[in-house]
């Protein structure tokens, strides 16, 4: 079954039930399931008019909106592959995504979509999504997700959290990530519930979070720790409406102490989960009491999760129906990560006797900045392209608000200031990848083999006030 067929079944069973509420400040409309289906038909008709057909890649450089939702479903009704990309990507990154994906169409401005349209019959599609993640070896990698991958993940989320027609999930996450798209948009819709669509969480939407929940009787939300930290700091426990029963969280570490503070303040239990783009999001989930273990990321569901290592702690690996077939046009990275029938996550973890997974570190170098991942090598390559930079090392600095932020150390053989180097990065990278600061050094520490000693650099940052 394809995603479009699954949506069609939902529409057929309850066409007049609400499916999408546009809760953005300039929104206001509510789509029933039948309206959503019709708008997807209109989007499919528009896409077909642009020459899009089965298997074609459509890059969507759009923020979260009903038009975005219609285009995603419209593309799937045509059998096309959706490539959602962060709208704040730099021109250089945009070119890369368009070229590497082999896009037939790049949508950068919301098009005027017809309200309905004729959709041709298409053969059963295989690929549904191409989601780009920062690459551990430089350029971003395009993760291929099939319809089966996405449906397996959606079904697990629906089953685990009991999503149904009464579910109203507030979606404040970026739909270009698997978390925002698959958990935030697809799972509630395909469960027969409602997506309450807000703008991506930002500075001026903090004060709207709980009022929007109250206005639309939201039952749950999906989040990342930086959103929870902002809510805890800036809003009051009494702001939380009674309709909100639980919150979901993933994409970055959630400390037990912080989780307890949030839950006590707002009276909302949080379920902390774990997954990645290559597994169509979550592979382990915490339930709500008593089926949860604070400090862990929950238990495997719908897939196998085990630890590769001689002892109880080792690299986490995953296999199951939601695991991607590999990276688009990148056989080398695919062979490294997908081997022996398992996806090797690069995360270090430990399973307890009940199967709860605790994450203890990263085998791969990555900086977790809020919900976003920054691979140091991508940042280093941009810095090394500057004519004055001869050595560059990017490491994680502790951050009160984001958990971690990238900081770069460079050695120069020409004139450049930290400000100029940050501006150089800003022109070439998505904003969250730009280093918080650039430090110019005479030399950088190296280990016995001559390799840069990034641990020493990170330790210096950790010791700073």
């Amino acid at each position: 079954m394809s995603l479009a067929e699954r949506l069609a079944a939902r529409v057929h069973s309850a066409p007049d039930a609400p499916a999408l509420i546009d809760a953005r400040p300039d929104g206001g409309q509510t789509w029933t399931a039948a309206t959503l289906w019709a708008r997807a038909g209109g989007a499919a008709s528009w896409l077909a008019g642009q020459g899009i057909g089965p298997g074609d890649r459509v890059v969507l450089l759009l923020p979260s909106s009903p038009t975005f939702v219609a285009l995603v479903w419209g593309a799937w009704r045509l059998g096309a592959v959706v490539v959602p990309v962060e709208p704040s990507s730099s021109p250089r990154e945009r070119r890369f995504f368009a070229e590497h994906s082999g896009a037939s169409l790049v949508v950068e401005v919301p098009p005027p979509l017809p309200e309905r349209g004729q959709v041709p019959e298409v053969p059963a599609p295989d690929r549904a999504l191409l989601l780009y993640t920062s690459g551990s070896t430089g350029d971003p990698k395009g993760v291929v997700l099939t319809h089966d991958n996405v449906l397996a993940s959606v079904h697990d989320t629906i089953a685990w959290f009991g999503f149904d027609a009464a579910t109203r999930l507030l979606c404040v996450l970026n739909p270009t990530h698997g978390h925002g798209l698959i958990v935030g948009l697809l799972a509630p819709l395909l469960a027969g519930g409602v997506v309450v669509l807000e703008e991506r969480f930002h500075a001026f939407s903090v004060g709207r979070f709980w009022p929007v929940c109250a206005a639309h009787q939201v039952t749950c939300f999906s989040s990342v720790p930086s959103i929870l930290r902002t809510l805890l700091r800036l809003t009051e426990g009494g702001d939380r409406p009674a309709s909100v029963q639980f919150g979901l969280c993933a994409s970055a570490p959630l400390s037990p102490g912080f989780q307890a503070s949030f839950e006590q303040t707002f009276g909302v239990p949080l379920a902390n989960n774990y997954g990645m783009t290559e597994t169509a999001t979550w592979v382990t989930r915490n339930g709500l009491d008593p089926d949860r273990r604070v400090g862990t990321v929950g238990r495997a569901q719908g897939c196998e999760v085990d630890i590769l290592g001689p002892g109880p702690m080792g690299e986490v690996r995953v296999r199951g129906p939601q695991v991607s077939p590999g990276y688009h046009d990148n056989s080398e990275a695919t062979a490294r990560a997908f081997r022996d029938g398992w996806f090797h996550t690069g995360d270090l973890g430990q399973l307890d006797s009940d199967g709860f997974l605790a994450l203890v570190g990263r085998a791969k170098e990555v900086i977790s900045r809020g919900a976003d991942k920054v691979y140091p090598v991508e940042l280093e390559e941009v810095l090394l392209a500057h004519p004055a930079v001869v050595v560059a090392a990017a490491v994680a600095a502790p951050s009160k608000h984001y958990g971690e932020e990238p900081v770069a150390f460079v050695v120069l053989d020409g004139p450049a200031t930290p400000k100029q180097l940050r501006a150089w990065c800003r022109e070439r990278l998505t904003p969250f990848k730009v280093p918080r600061s650039v430090r110019i050094e005479q030399t950088l520490p190296r280990g016995r083999t001559g390799k840069l000693d990034k641990r020493a650099l990170a330790a210096r940052l950790a010791d700073e006030p």
């Binding site: 500075a203 001026f204 903090v206 004060g207 800036l234 809003t235 984001y402 400000k419 501006a423 904003p431």
Partner: protein, 85 residues
């Protein structure tokens, strides 16, 4: 008082939040947050803490809007209004 706060706020933004601007480029009207803003969205927490420390008042969540936090000029006007109530 407004000029003291403006100067402290500008220094805080330029040094702590590092928007990649020179002092001359950060005017009273430079957009701070949002699509054309020079500061990362969730750094609003740091601005709130700065205002609360320097202004001696508690920022309410519904006050974190563009009219109050959109620029240095608006922040100063907002802080003055809050301090006088």
């Amino acid at each position: 008082m407004a000029n003291d706060l403006r100067a402290a706020l500008r220094e805080f933004i330029l040094t702590r939040l590092d928007p990649g601007l020179s002092a001359d480029d950060l005017t009273d009207d430079t957009p701070l947050f949002g699509h054309h803003g020079v500061i990362e969205s969730l750094a609003v927490l740091e601005v709130v803490e700065f205002l609360e420390t320097h202004g001696g008042f508690r920022v309410k969540p519904h006050e974190i809007v563009e009219d109050h936090f959109g620029s240095v000029g608006r922040l100063v006007a907002y802080a003055q209004a809050r301090s006088s109530t």
